[in-house]
């Protein structure tokens, strides 16, 4: 199957006053993949995402999302994307099922809160407030709100930051499941192990530029071909494997 680009970013720039946060970025995201935007803090990842999500004005360049231009068809784009913001809160004093109802109204979609909560295994928390959830539950709930409108693409901005290894693996499973159901996923992360196992392709962003796009495997192979050697020989397991092995795989609340 030929890979169809669903997002095309062409020579995108964004200046905040004198500061250029994004300096001419171009890339494509293919339909049905998990695409990772990787890079250090302040590299321009979040800015790039927010421009594609229609939340931020660009300075110049072109962005097409599923055939819609962000300049002319922002409203059409909003209807087919789901957005999880880094550190976003939810409407105060409402429980999860009321929050889902609210988002159903915002998207103009008729769905029951339970069917959405079921997708992220939070039905037993339907009457809980968002702030009473654990870190992993909060992220899963955020993902549930991105799925309400059956989006073509969802954007997840550092969804696993601050989670323990079990919650992180649990979230990976959820994200893969979403991809397998045909939704394209664009994700940012600081964890390279996560990008390596989760992302189909990754782009490295640094200083407002893209410094490389490929599959994680190709990147690693190319580096090895260039004669790279780790200082310390890697064993077949790492400390996280030990952690999971000792504390069990099942995911805990709290």
């Amino acid at each position: 199957m030929a890979k169809q680009p669903i997002i095309t970013v062409n020579n995108l720039t964004k200046n905040y006053g004198d500061f250029a946060a994004v300096k001419g970025i171009s890339f494509e995201v293919y339909e049905g993949e998990i695409f990772g935007l990787l890079g250090p803090n302040g590299a321009g990842k979040t800015t790039t995402l927010e421009i594609i999500e229609t939340l931020r004005e660009k300075t110049s360049g072109e962005v097409m999302v599923d055939g819609f231009s962000i300049d002319k068809d922002a409203d059409s784009i909003k209807k087919i994307i789901g957005v999880q913001l880094q550190a976003a809160g939810y409407y105060p004093n409402l429980n999860l099922s009321e929050l889902i109802s609210l988002f159903c109204g915002l998207y103009g979609i008729t769905k029951t809160p339970m069917e959405m909560l079921e997708k992220v295994a939070l039905t037993d928390k339907a009457k809980a407030k968002y702030k009473e959830l654990s870190g992993g539950q909060k992220q899963r709930f955020s993902i549930a709100t991105t799925l309400i409108n059956d989006p073509r693409i969802i954007f997840l901005d550092e969804p696993t930051t601050g989670l323990d290894p079990q919650a992180r693996r649990n979230l990976w499973d959820l994200i893969r499941e979403i991809r397998d159901n045909g939704t394209t996923v664009v994700i940012t992360t600081h964890y390279m192990d996560e990008a390596e196992v989760l992302c189909d392709r990754v782009a490295f962003v640094d200083g407002g530029h893209i410094v490389g796009i490929d599959t994680p495997d190709h990147f690693i192979d190319k580096l090895l071909e260039s004669g790279f050697e780790r200082k310390k020989q890697v064993k077949d397991a790492n400390l996280e494997d030990v952690f999971i092995n000792l504390t069990g795989k099942e995911w805990r609340e709290g």
């Binding site: 999500e53 229609t54 913001l85 409407y91 004093n93 915002l106």
Partner: protein
């Protein structure tokens, strides 16, 4: 795909916001509890009007017509429980205003029916320099005695010279203007003011800072839906609160509603107008404030002067002239005045166009500023 409905999105926000408001303790306390507490306190301390405490000396003839007449006078509070000693002390402290002693005189029937003779009663009154209310008792007693004396003289068949001047008194039968009639509209106005300013400012700054609004913007919702939805929720909450305050005032404290339900509806229309204007202040504050902790001081700058100067507790006419100019410039003054006219005088909305016009000017001014200062992100 179904056509996207802005109305549905607006109502979804309104519903969420309403749920959030009724679960927020501060909204309920400021909009309902405080006004009701103020009403409770002021309706009880302000209700009595003037009272003259008069000690009745032991051995007074309580069957005499003078005593009976005194008892009927509502401003006179007759005290019969204190001893002569206590009364004397209290009188010199001014904690009672006078002591009265009514003695029946023994009339000797053997004496000639014509010619000078003793009066049937003697009334001794002791006033005090510690209280100025003795004068009220004095005029009451003079009135009573005049009446009793002339009846007595007619009964005893004595001819009287015609009086130099004749007094004719009439009392217009009117509605009693109770303190609750003054305090309730003021408290209603205050409730609307605090809900409009504090409530709106807090909600919008917290939605902005916690990125709730930003998350909303990633959905197809329109900006006006967010503002309208929030406004609808606050309006619903405040109007329900207003109905509650009016009902408590009416049924528990006898608040006057001249035309019943029509008056209530007129008051609700005024409440809605007031709230919309006050929300404009709230939008402005949420735009100017950097974070949640700067909301209270900014909001107080707007609400406190109006709370004190807009005739919430006492009439604006009690202020010195220069301060009245300030009072008459404030929107809450005009909302309060319009409310009182509607509730007590039975005015329709058409009769308070002057107040509505000034409120309209405020509305235009406030929203012009709010549009400039309001921040979405």
């Amino acid at each position: 795909m179904n056509k996207y409905s802005n109305t549905r999105a607006t109502l979804a926000i309104a519903k969420a916001s309403f749920r959030s408001i009724i679960r927020s303790p501060s909204a309920v306390v400021f909009s309902l509890a405080f006004p009701l507490i103020f009403i409770l306190v002021f309706a009880n301390i302000g209700g009595g009007g003037v009272a003259v405490d008069v000690g009745v000396a032991k051995g007074s003839d309580t069957l005499s017509p003078v005593y009976t007449a005194l008892r009927k006078v509502s401003v006179i509070n007759l005290i019969t429980t204190q001893t002569a000693d206590e009364m004397g002390k209290n009188l010199s402290k001014g904690s009672i205003d006078a002591i009265i002693d009514i003695k029946k005189n023994v009339i000797d029937p053997s004496q000639s029916p014509v010619g000078p003779q003793k009066s049937p009663f003697t009334v001794n009154v002791q006033y005090t320099t510690s209280s100025s209310k003795g004068a009220i008792l004095k005029s009451v007693i003079v009135n009573i005695l005049n009446e009793i004396n002339s009846t007595y003289q007619q009964m005893s068949g004595q001819m009287l010279p015609p009086p130099a001047a004749e007094l004719r008194e009439t009392t217009v039968s009117g509605r009693a203007y109770k303190y609750i009639d003054f305090i309730l509209p003021g408290q209603l106005g205050f409730s609307l003011l605090s809900s409009g300013v504090f409530g709106t400012a807090f909600v919008f700054i917290s939605l902005r800072l916690t990125l709730v609004i930003k998350r909303f913007f990633a959905t197809p919702v329109k900006r006006y839906s967010i503002v309208l939805g929030e406004a609808l929720a606050r309006l619903t909450f405040s109007l329900l609160g207003a109905v509650f305050i009016i009902m408590v005032g009416h049924f528990m404290f006898g608040f006057t509603l001249i035309h019943g339900v029509v008056t209530v509806l007129n008051m609700l229309v005024l409440s809605a107008i007031g709230l919309i204007i006050f929300m404009g202040f709230g939008f402005t504050v949420s735009g100017i404030a950097k974070n949640e902790s700067t909301v209270p001081p900014l909001s107080n700058i707007i609400t406190l002067p109006q709370f004190l100067l807009s005739g919430t507790f006492f009439s604006v006419t009690a202020f010195p002239k220069w301060l009245q100019y300030v009072s008459n410039a404030l929107p809450l003054t005009h909302l309060n005045n319009a409310m009182r006219k509607v509730a007590f005088e039975g005015a329709g909305l058409g009769d308070v166009t002057h107040q509505l016009f000034i409120l309209l000017l405020w509305g235009i001014g406030v929203y012009a500023v709010a549009v400039k200062t309001f921040k979405w992100e």
